[in-house]
Protein backbone atom coordinates (compact mmCIF):
# COMPACT_ATOMS: atom_id res chain seq x y z
CA UNK A 1 0.00 0.00 0.00
CA UNK A 2 1.51 3.30 -1.10
CA UNK A 3 0.28 6.11 1.09
CA UNK A 4 0.73 9.83 1.64
CA UNK A 5 0.11 12.09 4.62
CA UNK A 6 -0.80 15.70 3.82
CA UNK A 7 0.87 18.25 6.06
CA UNK A 8 -0.66 21.70 6.66
CA UNK A 9 0.66 24.44 8.93
CA UNK A 10 -0.90 23.37 12.24
CA UNK A 11 -1.20 19.64 11.51
CA UNK A 12 -0.17 17.72 14.63
CA UNK A 13 -1.12 14.08 14.02
CA UNK A 14 0.80 13.74 10.76
CA UNK A 15 3.66 11.72 12.22
CA UNK A 16 1.35 9.41 14.17
CA UNK A 17 -0.53 8.80 10.92
CA UNK A 18 2.71 8.04 9.04
CA UNK A 19 3.83 5.57 11.73
CA UNK A 20 0.44 3.81 11.69
CA UNK A 21 0.48 3.50 7.90
CA UNK A 22 4.05 2.20 7.82
CA UNK A 23 3.45 -0.35 10.59
CA UNK A 24 0.42 -1.79 8.79
CA UNK A 25 1.84 -1.82 5.27
CA UNK A 26 5.60 -2.07 5.71
CA UNK A 27 5.96 0.83 3.30
CA UNK A 28 7.00 4.30 4.39
CA UNK A 29 4.30 6.94 3.94
CA UNK A 30 5.20 9.99 1.86
CA UNK A 31 4.78 13.34 3.55
CA UNK A 32 3.23 15.92 1.20
CA UNK A 33 3.28 19.66 1.95
CA UNK A 34 0.02 21.56 1.35
CA UNK A 35 1.65 23.93 -1.15
CA UNK A 36 2.58 21.08 -3.49
CA UNK A 37 0.36 21.24 -6.54
CA UNK A 38 0.27 17.52 -7.19
CA UNK A 39 0.34 14.21 -5.35
CA UNK A 40 3.17 11.70 -5.85
CA UNK A 41 2.39 9.14 -8.58
CA UNK A 42 1.02 5.70 -7.83
CA UNK A 43 -0.63 6.36 -4.46
CA UNK A 44 -3.25 3.97 -3.10
CA UNK A 45 -4.40 6.15 -0.22
CA UNK A 46 -4.12 9.78 0.83
CA UNK A 47 -4.59 10.64 4.50
CA UNK A 48 -5.41 14.02 6.00
CA UNK A 49 -4.31 14.10 9.63
CA UNK A 50 -5.63 15.81 12.72
CA UNK A 51 -4.47 19.15 14.04
CA UNK A 52 -5.45 22.77 13.73
CA UNK A 53 -4.67 23.59 10.11
CA UNK A 54 -4.30 27.33 9.61
CA UNK A 55 -5.23 27.89 13.25
CA UNK A 56 -8.86 26.92 12.55
CA UNK A 57 -9.29 30.42 11.08
CA UNK A 58 -12.66 31.23 9.47
CA UNK A 59 -14.01 27.70 10.07
CA UNK A 60 -12.14 24.51 10.98
CA UNK A 61 -10.65 23.06 7.79
CA UNK A 62 -11.95 25.87 5.57
CA UNK A 63 -8.59 27.34 4.56
CA UNK A 64 -6.89 23.95 4.22
CA UNK A 65 -9.70 22.80 1.93
CA UNK A 66 -8.76 25.61 -0.51
CA UNK A 67 -5.00 24.99 -0.46
CA UNK A 68 -3.18 23.96 -3.67
CA UNK A 69 -2.85 20.24 -2.84
CA UNK A 70 -6.59 19.84 -2.26
CA UNK A 71 -7.43 20.17 -5.96
CA UNK A 72 -5.27 17.11 -6.61
CA UNK A 73 -6.85 15.25 -3.69
CA UNK A 74 -10.37 15.96 -4.99
CA UNK A 75 -9.28 14.70 -8.43
CA UNK A 76 -7.69 11.63 -6.83
CA UNK A 77 -10.93 10.88 -4.93
CA UNK A 78 -13.10 11.48 -8.00
CA UNK A 79 -10.99 8.96 -9.91
CA UNK A 80 -11.66 6.34 -7.23
CA UNK A 81 -8.66 6.95 -4.97
CA UNK A 82 -8.93 6.19 -1.24
CA UNK A 83 -8.87 9.12 1.18
CA UNK A 84 -8.92 9.02 4.99
CA UNK A 85 -9.50 12.18 7.03
CA UNK A 86 -9.23 12.06 10.81
CA UNK A 87 -10.43 14.85 13.11
CA UNK A 88 -9.26 18.08 11.41
CA UNK A 89 -8.88 15.87 8.31
CA UNK A 90 -12.61 15.06 8.51
CA UNK A 91 -13.35 18.79 8.76
CA UNK A 92 -11.17 19.41 5.68
CA UNK A 93 -12.92 16.67 3.66
CA UNK A 94 -16.32 18.18 4.46
CA UNK A 95 -15.14 21.70 3.62
CA UNK A 96 -13.73 20.37 0.33
CA UNK A 97 -17.11 18.85 -0.53
CA UNK A 98 -15.89 15.23 -0.54
CA UNK A 99 -18.25 14.31 2.30
CA UNK A 100 -21.70 15.77 3.11
CA UNK A 101 -22.94 17.62 6.20
CA UNK A 102 -21.07 20.02 8.47
CA UNK A 103 -19.03 19.93 11.69
CA UNK A 104 -19.95 22.57 14.24
CA UNK A 105 -18.85 23.65 17.70
CA UNK A 106 -19.41 20.87 20.29
CA UNK A 107 -22.82 21.22 21.91
CA UNK A 108 -21.15 21.49 25.34
CA UNK A 109 -18.88 24.28 23.97
CA UNK A 110 -15.81 22.64 25.52
CA UNK A 111 -12.81 21.09 23.84
CA UNK A 112 -13.25 17.37 24.55
CA UNK A 113 -10.10 15.27 24.98
CA UNK A 114 -10.71 11.72 26.21
CA UNK A 115 -11.15 8.11 25.19
CA UNK A 116 -14.56 7.34 23.74
CA UNK A 117 -16.24 4.07 23.00
CA UNK A 118 -17.44 3.91 19.42
CA UNK A 119 -19.41 1.30 17.54
CA UNK A 120 -18.48 0.00 14.12
CA UNK A 121 -21.64 0.43 12.04
CA UNK A 122 -20.38 -1.18 8.86
CA UNK A 123 -17.56 -3.51 7.95
CA UNK A 124 -18.34 -2.99 4.28
CA UNK A 125 -15.52 -0.60 3.37
CA UNK A 126 -11.78 -0.80 2.74
CA UNK A 127 -11.25 1.05 6.04
CA UNK A 128 -13.41 -1.16 8.25
CA UNK A 129 -13.36 -4.68 6.78
CA UNK A 130 -11.07 -5.98 9.54
CA UNK A 131 -13.72 -5.02 12.11
CA UNK A 132 -16.96 -6.85 12.82
CA UNK A 133 -20.19 -4.89 12.39
CA UNK A 134 -21.43 -3.93 15.85
CA UNK A 135 -17.94 -4.26 17.36
CA UNK A 136 -17.07 -1.63 19.99
CA UNK A 137 -13.64 -0.02 20.15
CA UNK A 138 -12.25 2.74 22.32
CA UNK A 139 -10.46 5.51 20.43
CA UNK A 140 -9.28 8.91 21.66
CA UNK A 141 -11.07 12.06 20.60
CA UNK A 142 -9.62 15.56 20.91
CA UNK A 143 -11.70 18.28 19.31
CA UNK A 144 -13.70 21.46 19.78
CA UNK A 145 -15.74 21.26 16.60
CA UNK A 146 -16.87 17.68 16.14
CA UNK A 147 -20.61 18.17 16.32
CA UNK A 148 -21.74 16.52 13.07
CA UNK A 149 -24.75 18.31 11.61
CA UNK A 150 -26.99 16.65 9.04
CA UNK A 151 -30.66 17.17 8.25
CA UNK A 152 -33.15 14.31 8.45
CA UNK A 153 -32.99 13.53 4.73
CA UNK A 154 -29.18 13.28 4.77
CA UNK A 155 -29.22 11.00 7.82
CA UNK A 156 -31.79 8.81 6.10
CA UNK A 157 -29.64 8.67 2.96
CA UNK A 158 -26.48 7.83 4.96
CA UNK A 159 -28.35 5.09 6.83
CA UNK A 160 -30.02 3.71 3.70
CA UNK A 161 -26.69 3.48 1.88
CA UNK A 162 -24.89 2.03 4.93
CA UNK A 163 -22.49 4.98 4.90
CA UNK A 164 -22.35 5.63 8.65
CA UNK A 165 -19.03 4.02 9.56
CA UNK A 166 -18.88 4.71 13.31
CA UNK A 167 -21.23 6.03 16.01
CA UNK A 168 -20.50 7.15 19.58
CA UNK A 169 -21.84 5.00 22.40
CA UNK A 170 -22.02 8.10 24.62
CA UNK A 171 -22.32 11.15 22.36
CA UNK A 172 -19.59 13.61 23.48
CA UNK A 173 -20.35 16.55 21.16
CA UNK A 174 -24.00 16.64 20.13
CA UNK A 175 -23.50 14.96 16.74
CA UNK A 176 -26.68 14.15 14.84
CA UNK A 177 -27.58 10.45 15.21
CA UNK A 178 -24.38 9.95 17.31
CA UNK A 179 -22.38 9.95 14.07
CA UNK A 180 -18.58 9.71 14.54
CA UNK A 181 -17.56 8.86 10.98
CA UNK A 182 -19.07 8.61 7.49
CA UNK A 183 -18.19 7.16 4.09
CA UNK A 184 -18.54 8.66 0.62
CA UNK A 185 -20.96 7.19 -1.92
CA UNK A 186 -18.25 4.98 -3.43
CA UNK A 187 -17.11 3.99 0.12
CA UNK A 188 -13.53 5.06 -0.65
CA UNK A 189 -13.49 8.29 1.34
CA UNK A 190 -13.82 8.05 5.12
CA UNK A 191 -13.99 10.98 7.54
CA UNK A 192 -14.06 10.42 11.30
CA UNK A 193 -13.49 12.45 14.46
CA UNK A 194 -11.91 9.70 16.66
CA UNK A 195 -8.18 9.01 16.23
CA UNK A 196 -7.26 5.39 15.36
CA UNK A 197 -3.68 6.53 14.55
CA UNK A 198 -3.13 7.52 18.17
CA UNK A 199 -3.60 3.96 19.35
CA UNK A 200 -0.90 1.98 17.58
CA UNK A 201 1.63 1.25 20.26
CA UNK A 202 1.29 -0.60 23.57
CA UNK A 203 3.40 2.15 25.16
CA UNK A 204 0.70 4.63 24.23
CA UNK A 205 -2.20 2.67 25.67
CA UNK A 206 -2.96 0.01 23.11
CA UNK A 207 -2.97 -1.13 19.52
CA UNK A 208 -6.73 -1.13 18.80
CA UNK A 209 -6.24 1.53 16.15
CA UNK A 210 -4.22 -0.91 14.03
CA UNK A 211 -7.36 -2.49 12.65
CA UNK A 212 -8.16 0.56 10.54
CA UNK A 213 -4.73 0.46 8.94
CA UNK A 214 -4.55 -3.32 8.51
CA UNK A 215 -7.99 -3.13 6.82
CA UNK A 216 -6.57 -0.60 4.41
CA UNK A 217 -3.29 -2.45 3.86
CA UNK A 218 -5.12 -5.71 3.08
CA UNK A 219 -7.61 -3.97 0.78
CA UNK A 220 -4.95 -2.01 -1.04
CA UNK A 221 -2.14 -4.49 -1.59
CA UNK A 222 0.11 -2.77 -4.10
CA UNK A 223 0.52 -4.50 -7.42
Amino acid sequence: MRSAVIVFPGSNCDRDMAVALERASGVKAQMVWHKDASLPDGLDVVTIPGGFSFGDYLRCGAIAARSPIMRSIVDFANKGGHVLGVCNGFQVLIEAGLLPGALMRNSGLKFVCKNTEIKVETSNSPFTNAYTKGEKVTYPIAHHDGNYVADASLVERLRGDDRIAFTYMDNPNGSTADIAGILSENRRVLGMMPHPERLNDPELGGVDGNKMFTSLAESLVSA
Partner: protein, 79 residues
Protein backbone atom coordinates in the same frame (compact mmCIF):
# COMPACT_ATOMS: atom_id res chain seq x y z
CA UNK B 1 -14.95 50.18 -2.62
CA UNK B 2 -15.72 48.37 0.61
CA UNK B 3 -17.96 45.42 1.22
CA UNK B 4 -19.29 43.98 4.44
CA UNK B 5 -20.40 40.36 4.71
CA UNK B 6 -22.63 39.05 7.49
CA UNK B 7 -22.46 35.30 8.05
CA UNK B 8 -25.12 33.80 10.31
CA UNK B 9 -26.30 30.30 11.12
CA UNK B 10 -29.39 29.22 9.22
CA UNK B 11 -32.66 29.07 11.07
CA UNK B 12 -33.09 25.63 12.55
CA UNK B 13 -29.35 25.06 13.05
CA UNK B 14 -28.68 24.92 16.78
CA UNK B 15 -26.24 27.59 17.94
CA UNK B 16 -24.54 26.40 21.14
CA UNK B 17 -22.46 29.60 21.41
CA UNK B 18 -25.53 31.81 21.07
CA UNK B 19 -27.28 29.73 23.74
CA UNK B 20 -24.30 30.18 26.09
CA UNK B 21 -24.29 33.96 25.51
CA UNK B 22 -28.04 34.09 26.19
CA UNK B 23 -27.50 32.21 29.44
CA UNK B 24 -24.67 34.57 30.49
CA UNK B 25 -26.82 37.63 29.75
CA UNK B 26 -29.50 36.13 31.99
CA UNK B 27 -26.90 35.69 34.77
CA UNK B 28 -26.02 39.38 34.44
CA UNK B 29 -29.64 40.30 35.05
CA UNK B 30 -30.64 41.10 31.47
CA UNK B 31 -34.10 39.58 31.49
CA UNK B 32 -36.26 39.05 28.47
CA UNK B 33 -33.59 37.96 25.98
CA UNK B 34 -35.59 35.33 24.12
CA UNK B 35 -32.81 34.13 21.83
CA UNK B 36 -29.22 34.92 20.83
CA UNK B 37 -27.69 33.93 17.51
CA UNK B 38 -23.96 34.50 17.03
CA UNK B 39 -22.40 35.18 13.64
CA UNK B 40 -19.47 36.86 11.92
CA UNK B 41 -18.87 40.13 10.12
CA UNK B 42 -16.18 40.19 7.42
CA UNK B 43 -15.05 43.48 5.87
CA UNK B 44 -13.33 43.59 2.48
CA UNK B 45 -11.49 46.40 0.68
CA UNK B 46 -12.00 45.92 -3.06
CA UNK B 47 -10.26 47.39 -6.10
CA UNK B 48 -13.54 47.11 -8.03
CA UNK B 49 -15.38 50.43 -8.51
CA UNK B 50 -18.65 49.11 -9.97
CA UNK B 51 -21.08 48.27 -7.15
CA UNK B 52 -22.96 45.63 -9.16
CA UNK B 53 -19.76 43.79 -10.13
CA UNK B 54 -18.43 44.06 -6.59
CA UNK B 55 -21.60 42.52 -5.18
CA UNK B 56 -21.53 39.67 -7.70
CA UNK B 57 -17.88 38.99 -6.92
CA UNK B 58 -18.34 39.06 -3.12
CA UNK B 59 -21.38 36.78 -3.44
CA UNK B 60 -19.13 34.25 -5.20
CA UNK B 61 -16.53 34.64 -2.45
CA UNK B 62 -19.24 33.83 0.09
CA UNK B 63 -20.40 30.76 -1.79
CA UNK B 64 -16.85 29.45 -2.28
CA UNK B 65 -15.22 30.28 1.04
CA UNK B 66 -16.61 32.88 3.42
CA UNK B 67 -19.77 30.99 4.35
CA UNK B 68 -20.49 27.28 4.69
CA UNK B 69 -23.82 27.28 2.89
CA UNK B 70 -24.76 23.92 4.40
CA UNK B 71 -25.32 25.59 7.77
CA UNK B 72 -24.84 29.33 7.20
CA UNK B 73 -26.63 32.18 5.43
CA UNK B 74 -24.81 35.30 4.27
CA UNK B 75 -25.72 38.86 3.40
CA UNK B 76 -23.51 41.19 1.33
CA UNK B 77 -23.48 44.96 1.78
CA UNK B 78 -21.59 47.21 -0.63
CA UNK B 79 -20.53 50.39 1.16
Amino acid sequence: MKARVYVTLKNGVLDPQGAAVQHALGSLGFDGVDAVRQGKVIELDLAETDAGKAEASVTQMCEKLLANTVIEDFKVEIL
